[in-house]
């Protein structure tokens, strides 16, 4: 069994510290864009990262198999690949497996073996679990139990691509200019205490949920303790991981609407809650009292996405930058305005979102039905 924690956090620090630049864009009507747009934007923010990690999440890129779970895997050895494939065959009716297409790039070195699989869970193995929970468990098994294998993407009709290197180089390495997505999120990393490892780059993902994150969560220890109590294993030692799990817990398992999830992570100040009308005061008091351990304290700007939905959120007192812009049906989010202007010189609107107030983008119904025929996230 290999220790991802050790791989991520070789010096056993309290957690990883990293910061970055982020860029995201999404069309409400499901129009798709090639990956050279986010690549260009990230290249413009080159200095926000330090070349120790970059990555992209792209939604709508596998329109021919929208109902299949697309697993992206990295293997350190052929043995790891063989063992993983055996495991996948046991649990999934595998439709297809292929090498993830790449082109050599001088900025990307020591690549692991990169493969992707389009999978359908073996229904007789579900045993009452939802497909999603079944997939999460399989991903956890591979990542924790199979030496040298790591699933870095496992959602439907979407994919995560990440590596050690500057983000623009990572995008070119993965030939992202050849993919068309209705939503892209991208991240450049500036870690301070990890020997860079491919799996450690952002976006971080669970199923089709992805998170890119800029900043450092000062409440990490508190957040982590609470999530571990809820059954999550924080193996990656990163802020981003706790955000992703918090999102999964609140939105998928507890069924909170995304707006409320944001209000848990970045709640109003007590002084403002005290001024609210009774109904809101009760609501926000309840949220803060019950989900206090999931308050993300400290500087952060995050972009979270899943099927048909993207949300950008900054901390309550806006300690990290976040710029939003709009052109027709497309919303752009970035750490700076310049990269947005570079890829779309004519914008209808540019604004700085208020700290703690999310920018939410949703596919319209027609586009949703096309990209994700299984429907919107089923809440329980």
């Amino acid at each position: 069994m290999w220790d991802i924690g050790k791989k991520q956090n070789p010096y056993s620090d309290d957690k990883l510290h990293d910061a970055c630049g982020i860029f995201a864009m999404m069309s409400r009507s499901g129009r798709t864009f090639a990956g050279d747009i986010p690549i260009t934007a990230m290249e413009n923010m080159h200095d926000r990262g330090n070349g120790l990690g970059g990555g992209f999440a792209a939604y709508g890129i596998y329109p021919d198999w929208p109902e299949l779970f697309a697993f992206h895997l990295m293997f350190e050895t052929k043995e790891a690949k063989a063992e993983t494939e055996k495991y996948l065959h046991q649990h999934f009716s595998s439709m297809d497996g292929e090498e993830i297409p790449t082109r050599p790039h001088p900025g990307i070195t020591s690549a692991p073996i990169l493969f992707r699989y389009f999978l359908r869970p073996n229904h007789h193995l579900l045993e009452g679990l939802s497909e999603d929970d079944f997939v999460v468990q399989r991903v956890m098994h591979i990542n924790l139990k199979i030496d040298g294998a790591f699933v870095f993407s496992s959602g439907r009709n979407m994919g995560v691509f990440k590596a050690v290197g500057h983000t623009e180089d990572v995008g070119r390495f993965f030939k992202l200019d050849e993919y068309e997505a209705y939503c892209w999120t991208a991240h450049s990393r500036f870690p301070t205490n990890t020997t860079a490892w491919w799996g450690g780059a952002h976006p971080f993902s669970v199923l089709d949920w992805t998170v890119v994150h800029n900043g450092e969560i000062s409440s990490y220890g508190t957040n982590r303790n609470y999530l571990e109590m809820q059954g999550y294993f924080c193996t990656m030692h990163t802020d981003t991981e706790v955000i992703a799990y918090a999102m999964d817990l609140l939105a998928r398992r507890h069924g909170l609407p995304i707006e409320m999830v944001c209000k848990v992570m970045a709640p109003p100040l007590w002084k403002d809650i005290d001024q609210m009308a009774q109904a809101d005061r009760d609501l926000y008091t309840t949220l803060r009292v019950i989900y206090g351990p999931l308050l993300m304290n400290g500087p952060f700007s995050i972009v979270m996405a899943h099927q048909g939905e993207m949300v950008a959120l900054g901390d309550r007192i806006r300690l990290r930058p976040l710029v939003a812009a709009e052109r027709d049906d497309v919303i752009y989010i970035a750490s700076e305005e310049a990269p947005i202007r570079l890829v779309e010189p004519t914008l209808d609107r540019v604004w700085i979102p208020k700290g703690g107030e999310p920018v939410i983008v949703r596919l319209d119904d027609a586009a949703m039905a096309k990209a994700h025929p299984e429907g919107r996230q089923v809440l329980k």
Binding site: R318, E337, A338, R341, I352, K354
Partner: protein, 271 residues
Amino acid sequence: MTWEFASPGAFAMAGPTGKITYQPDGRAVVDARGIYYRQLNEQLRQLVKTGAKEIDVINVYGQRYLGTSIPEHVKLRIYGTPGNDMAFAMHGPEIEVFGNAQDGLGNTMDEGEVIVHGSAGDVLAMSMRGGSLWVKGNVGYRCGIHMKEYGDKVPLVVIGGSCQDFFGEYMAGGSVVLLGLGLAAGETHKAAFMGTGMHAGRIFVRGTVDPGQVGKEVGLTEPDAAELEQIRAAVRRYVELFGGDEAEIMATPFVKMYPKSLRPYGRLYAY
């Protein structure tokens, strides 16, 4: 023969040198597209060294520190979106931006003028000590934070639109005029914690300010006659730069935010 050595980081993005053309009036035009800030700023320095007094910089996309290292009275016109920390510690130049400015504009700025025909991001004018900043539109969080003044060196910031939270935090001097032109009639500014920790300087806000949205160190009053003249002069210049109607702007009353004490934390300690 020479052994090549790739230095990590510093020169990683050294690109082609920006193309320079000249206008009929002799003004240099630098095309900044694809040029890394270090090369661009060096190029501007060289141009100034060789006598350029006016330079247009076009296709600017996020290059940082424009105007920082040119301690001369030159004029730069920036077309595009200049990067963070424009005019950091700037001493001298006049910069006109045709576009929005990003975060950190006028950081520790000393002398000169920056005019933005658009909006600006967070921490505008942080620790600014002199010169003036003119922003047509809105500004982000923590603008005017810890501005200072000494003697007749009083920085001036004039903002046409509105601001976000922590406006004028820690303010230790200087003058800020916030016009709120985008606000509807009767609409108040949305920022919270305005002037929190303010202990010198003055902020003039057009329209109403709710006592609940200013820091506890801040007093609210009406500007006196002399101050109204200062405001009028600022508005006149604003209108010259960006358009609008001076009389119409001045028709709405201004509120003055002032520090209640030069020593807001004098009683915080046990000796």
